[in-house]
């Protein structure tokens, strides 16, 4: 249930960046590290992070619920977040979304039955120059998407 020693070591590294009386400052990184390990942030995980930082659980929950890159429900192995904001929309992100929905058989905020893919709608990622775009698991960004390119990317992912 609880976080691995490896994750805790990473959190410690983050904590070292701030004065010792401001452990709260590391809350965002700590939640991210916990999410990377667990795949998503359960209420227990959030409470554990909070305990570790010695802040009230509700303070960590505030942060976890504010940013939408924190997952509060389980997601598939690959979470694909497609930007649908204005620049991407003008560059036809809709086509990408349609394609993904058809290909995976799921809509936004749904996960495929095999638990491999989750589809999410994203807000502008500040990379409008590469529109349309999506990222996988918050870190792996792919730009200038076309349906063909999407197929390739998905094929390249581990089973």
């Amino acid at each position: 249930m609880s976080l691995s020693a490896e994750s805790l070591a990473k959190i410690e590294r983050e904590l070292a960046k701030y004065p010792p009386e401001h452990r709260q400052a590391a809350v965002m990184s700590a939640l991210r590290i916990a999410q990377t390990e667990k795949g998503w942030l359960s209420k227990d995980t959030i409470a554990e992070v909070a305990d570790y930082l010695r802040i009230p659980a509700i303070a960590a929950l505030e942060v976890a619920t504010f940013y939408n890159m924190y997952e509060l429900e389980p997601v598939g192995k690959y979470k694909i977040t497609v930007c649908t904001n204005i620049s991407c929309m003008l560059r036809d992100s809709e086509e990408i979304v349609d394609h993904l929905e058809k290909k995976l058989g799921i809509g936004f905020n749904e996960t495929t039955a095999d638990g491999r893919f989750t589809l999410k709608e994203g807000e502008c990622m500040g990379c409008c120059g590469g529109a349309p775009l999506f990222h996988i698991n918050n870190t792996d960004m792919h730009e200038y998407l076309t349906p063909e390119k999407v197929d390739k990317i998905l094929e390249g992912l581990d089973k």
């Binding site: 802040i55 509700i58 619920t65 504010f66």
Partner: protein, 807 residues
């Protein structure tokens, strides 16, 4: 100072003040929701927008610091438009359910919408709904009504000391909630009801009982702790329906503890005694006042006449008014008895005859907040003095250092700099170490009298005592010795300690060496007042303990439930049981008074006039806010007539004011008070330094917050709180549990003196080794003895498994 202009009025304000401060100073109304003078600025509701010259957009008055020459307009076209738009925006998701909302009639949103909003709504779309939360038995929620001002969040975090609510999600989905299914357990939680500008947080006990305009509001004084909070009692049809704080910056500010706010439910308890009762052959019979008083007075006189006046003992609750305490004392003296006491939960009276004055907190309440160093000895602060704890919390937030010497490691929700958590007996040792450390410090060593330095000869100073001493003396830095901002306070646990006198004299010595304020945070609403009227043995009479140890033939009890209000419950019970005559002046019928002879129904604080003297020595008189229930009569009147019936002189009072005048000898109370308050002892008291560790287990019997007196104990909402339902009955350190071979949750037999009780063992890391936390003032432990003292624990042998019957 800066000169600014608001709506054409010129005003001079301090550097760093905000526009809203300046406007408040001028009495110019700026609407607001999130801003509160006692909380940090959030500036998230935007209701306070004003127009400022040379700025091309409206600015939030609560978060904009003034600049010299600033011209501000609160009612200009731009300002009014901004206010109207914000109002419209806030009302988008606010349900228009005022007719069924408890806040209706006293709602900021309602008022401000009337004053600053548009006459009609343009909004036709769907409104959002927020799933409601249950945050405990005191605060009702209707979260759809919330406007996310976050006052409640900030209060609990900043004033309450623990962030129990938070704002989760974002934008339209934002909502206030506690973590998952948690409740709000702060002992100050009721204040979020007052703070909430809408009907999202309302009082659960008061819910749907009345409209605010139907209530009659009368001022009174809170009767449960020594703070003397000023309250406003709200009444409908003669019944108390709620209690709110009256703002008094130097006492309770605008806050009230939950105990003071919700205890009133105990006033309407079915336990209330409505008619006098006399016991005949073990059966209670209702009777009339005349019969009851004549019976009581006659009986008492008869016992005194045949067995001597020394056979009478008078016990007075420290929550009784000064008038009641004075008359009860006078009554005892009138019958020739010096056996009077109000210090029911004390057990060490060696300081009697050695005090120079009336014991008080040593400073004024707001001073606490100005302290740089505070040492608290033997107190569960949040339990005993919730609002004073809040002031200490603020002092610490502003840089003060708090140290504690305590037998319990409960979290006061205040960062503690140094602590010595030790068994009750060790507290004396720790204090002598601190004294030695303080006396060894430069510049101070000269001041120590020989008798003390001899005493401290063999004491070895441990690190934490050294650290506390260093903290108290300002870390050796030059201290302002004329007016050092440091204080040493004794809490309830110290006062109930079997070695209170030693603790007192050591603490006094420590504070005089480092020039600190020294005071006692008294438990009852009128402890200091009862001390002032002299409700104590004067010339060798029996005190609250000896009166029970050598049982008397007759007792008079004023507002006392013996087994719940006395230091040694078992002893109290036995003494009352064996007495020939027990006259109980009480507001309640009670199990604890089963052994009495006569019950005289007296009124609680809401139905009598009287005076309380707070721990800072403030004399506060109040009047009855409602009529006495049934035949009940104010305590002072009953005592007066009892005096008359017993044929005593000097009982001719027509009003409680006359009694008060007698107490103060016709002088101004403040004059008398300042003459008498004095925490010094005439002489140093022998301190015994025990080096050996206790071999037996020690009981640490704190008084839980919601059990402190008869009214609180009968308030259903308070009794439903987690503090009560999850109360630890026998808290033992987990290692100690293992050592004793007891499992967590196991029922164990605890024995003290002749009494015993079966309690559930709980692992409690806040209890030091060698100690067991077993609260007093509850029925489950009313068969036990001293609150602090030796205790024995036994496992209960598992009942032998039934033998199998083989055919």
């Amino acid at each position: 100072m800066l000169n600014i202009e608001i709506d054409g009025k010129v005003v001079e304000v301090e550097h760093g003040s905000t526009i809203i401060d300046a406007a408040d100073q001028l009495g110019i109304a700026i609407p607001r929701f999130c801003y509160h003078k006692k909380l940090s600025v959030a500036a998230n509701c935007r209701m306070c927008l004003v127009q400022v010259e040379k700025f091309n957009k409206p600015l939030p008055a609560c978060a904009t610091p003034v600049a010299d020459g600033m011209k501000i307009f609160t009612r200009s076209k731009a300002a009014v438009e901004a206010q109207q738009s914000v109002m419209e925006f806030l009302l988008i998701n606010h349900p228009l359910d005022c007719p069924i909302c408890d806040q209706g009639g006293e709602c900021d949103l309602q008022d401000i919408a009337m004053a600053y909003g548009a006459p009609a709504s343009r909004y036709t779309e769907e409104k959002r709904v927020v799933i409601n939360k249950n945050i405990g038995p005191l605060v009702a929620t209707d979260m759809t009504r919330c406007i996310q001002c976050t006052r409640c969040v900030r209060f609990l975090k900043e004033v309450g000391g623990m962030m129990e609510l938070g704002l989760i999600n974002r934008g339209e989905h934002a909502e206030i909630t506690a973590y998952v299914d948690k409740s709000v357990d702060s002992e100050l939680s009721g204040n979020i009801i007052d703070l909430c500008p809408v009907g999202a947080l309302t009082s659960k006990p008061f819910r749907y009982t009345a409209r605010s305009w139907e209530l009659v509001r009368r001022p009174s004084i809170a009767p449960h702790d020594g703070l003397g909070s000023q309250i406003e009692v709200h009444i409908k049809d003669g019944k108390v329906l709620r209690v709110l704080p009256r703002e008094k910056e130097t006492i309770n500010e605008c806050w009230l503890s939950d105990r003071d706010r919700f205890s009133y439910e105990g006033l309407n308890s079915p336990d209330r005694l409505k008619v006098p009762m006399i016991k005949h052959h073990g059966e209670w019979h209702e009777t009339d006042w005349k019969t009851a008083l004549e019976f009581a007075g006659g009986h008492l006189k008869e016992i005194v006449g045949t067995h001597g006046s020394d056979e009478l003992g008078v016990l007075i609750s420290p929550n009784s008014t000064m008038e009641e305490a004075h008359l009860a004392t006078k009554f005892a003296h009138g019958l020739g008895s010096d056996n009077v006491d109000y210090r029911l939960r004390h057990t060490d009276f060696r300081h009697d005859g050695k005090r120079l004055g009336v014991i008080w907190m040593g400073c004024n309440i707001p001073d606490v907040q100005e302290m740089d160093r505070i040492l608290v000895i033997g107190s569960n602060l949040r339990n005993e003095h919730p609002l004073l704890a809040q002031r200490i919390r603020r002092a610490v937030a502003n840089g003060a250092e708090l140290s504690v010497v305590n037998p319990l490691d409960d979290d006061p929700l205040i960062p503690i700099k140094h602590k010595a958590i030790c068994s009750p007996n060790d507290m004396v040792n720790v204090l002598s170490q601190i004294l030695k450390a303080v006396s060894g410090m430069e510049r101070l060593s000269l001041c120590l009298p020989k008798s003390l330095s001899d005493l401290l000869e063999g004491v070895r100073v441990w690190d934490n005592s050294q650290a506390i001493a260093l903290s108290l003396t300002g870390h050796g830095e030059t201290m302002d010795l004329i007016s050092p901002r440091s204080a040493v306070f004794l809490g309830n646990i110290s006062q109930h300690h079997p070695r209170y006198t030693e603790i007192f004299s050591l603490a006094e010595a420590i504070s005089s060496l480092c020039g600190a304020t020294f005071g006692v945070l008294s438990a009852g609403a009128n402890s200091v007042g009862a001390n002032l009227v002299g409700a104590m043995p004067k010339a060798g009479g029996l005190n609250a303990r000896t009166m029970l140890e050598s049982p008397r033939k007759a007792y008079v009890l004023v507002n006392v439930e013996p087994e719940l209000d006395c230091h040694n419950a078992a002893l109290a019970k036995q003494a009352i049981e064996q007495a020939e005559c027990v006259v109980a002046l009480t507001a309640y019928k009670s199990e604890a008074l089963e052994d009495a002879t006569v019950l005289l129904p007296i009124t609680p604080f809401t139905e009598t006039s009287g005076t309380f003297m707070s721990m800072e020595g403030r004399v506060q008189s109040f009047t009855a806010v409602t009529k006495p229930l049934g035949e009940a009569r104010p305590g002072w009147k009953v005592l007066r007539v009892l005096g008359n019936v017993a044929g005593l002189h000097g009982f001719e009072f027509d009003s409680s004011e006359e009694v008060k005048d007698e107490i103060f000898g016709g002088e101004k109370p403040s004059a008398v008070v300042w003459r008498t308050l004095n925490n010094n002892l005439r002489e140093l008291i022998d301190v015994e330094i025990k080096v050996k560790l206790d071999s037996d287990l020690q009981r640490v019997g704190e008084i839980p917050q919601f059990q402190s007196d008869a009214i609180v104990r009968r308030s259903p909402p308070l009794q439903k709180t987690k503090q009560v339902t999850k109360a630890v009955l026998a808290g033992i350190h987990p290692e100690q549990l293992t050592k004793l071979g007891i499992n967590e949750g196991e029922k164990i037999l605890v024995k003290q003196g002749t009494g015993s009780a079966i309690l559930e063992a709980k692992a409690d890391i806040h209890v030091p080794h060698g100690c067991v936390r077993i609260p007093g003032a509850i029925a489950a432990t009313a068969s036990l003895g001293d609150l602090l003292g030796e205790i024995y624990i036994e496992r209960i042998p598992a009942t032998a498994p039934q033998e199998e019957v083989s055919a």
